[in-house]
Symmetry: C2
Subunit: 253 residues, 2 copies
Amino acid sequence: MKSEFSLNRRSILKNSIVSGACLSFLSKTSVANTKKIAKGSTVLFQGDSITDAGRDRRAENRANHSGMLGRGYPHAIAGQILSKLPQGKLKIYNRGISGNKVPDLAARWEKDCLNLKPNILSILIGVNDIWHKLNGNYKGTVQDYEMQYSELIKRTKEKLPNTLIIICEPFVLRCGAINDAWFPDFDERRAASKKVSKKFETLFVPFQKMFDDAVASGTEPEYWAGDGVHPSVAGHALMANTWINIVSNYFDL
Amino acid sequence: MKSEFSLNRRSILKNSIVSGACLSFLSKTSVANTKKIAKGSTVLFQGDSITDAGRDRRAENRANHSGMLGRGYPHAIAGQILSKLPQGKLKIYNRGISGNKVPDLAARWEKDCLNLKPNILSILIGVNDIWHKLNGNYKGTVQDYEMQYSELIKRTKEKLPNTLIIICEPFVLRCGAINDAWFPDFDERRAASKKVSKKFETLFVPFQKMFDDAVASGTEPEYWAGDGVHPSVAGHALMANTWINIVSNYFDL
């Protein structure tokens, strides 16, 4: 086994692939030195169905509640962080909603993000912005996606200047609902998410590269996401470990 | 951070606390050298509500399905194993049922265990055997628990002689529903589970020691299980990592 999971703060420095992908464009002054996550911090996961993952809406105000967290990567991340850092007294929330695009996040941002005052905000959004367009139910272009996403992050940074923001790269697997019609549009949207991350000096989690590497290692894409969009149990766990490898470097508990 | 998660086969040997607790009474011939888990193996989790953890009964025949696995330690274990060992082609099932005692497992063992022909069978059972007795709804003694549990494992080994069996120690946290009336009866049942494990040379996962150590490190017991019985997200993740540290040594994928 080459892959190891660890919340050791130095692990990110040893994990050259991940750190190279996510930290190369970050100003150490703006993120690494100023946004350490202190005890009692609030962690918020935002996004679409991949984040939602069957969460119990009725429990959405109950920090760290199992049903509230859903069955996806937010739950897996919460489990690892809460079990390994019990002294952290972290409050973790999932407010992903199936079917959401960037404008849907914007419409509920006051209630479902700003009012929660997260110290860590992780966002994974973009697959519906193209999927709904391909289905004829939406007209947003790549430029719209980038502009709307930029506006969302700008608004967030104005209200929550000390929040550590994590932009997760949208991804697809080449199977299920994913066909040639998705490209190159989808790749351009991935690039747009990275541009927004760079512009606002957020952390960036390269999920597409992670899944591409997993498939290149000899696993069928369906193993990670049967329909090409929604991860399997294995896919969510892979996402969780990658996310933790990147973000745990910023914990100061 | 002292604690690290790894599926490296040598990690168990380095983790002296866990390995000391679980391997001290094992015959290396009977377990370590003969029961390597091969590709395509079936893994089955059996038990009560702690294992059940809200699983979707309708999906119970769908290996590795997210809803089928519930939201507890079986899901967390499946995520880590399936993501780190994609070449293993493992089929993981959860058949825990809330409220079950050992005789309840025995009554459905043919359908919910033997017929599945698991290569790895993990059992966590015992808390209802005492809880229902304290509530006046059951009369089974410690001796009944040990005898019934022995009979269940004997029956399993006769039908599935090559299956790696893992007996998980029943545990409680000193909070919520747990009061002095539980002792020393509960400690005697824990000891009985270990005796059964030793008698049939199974693996043993010392969950009580794990939670005792976590509380001794300065965390409130409620952090790990609000009612003293059902683990939190953090508690389930801690269980998953301990289980993996012990069992991954027997993977040969």
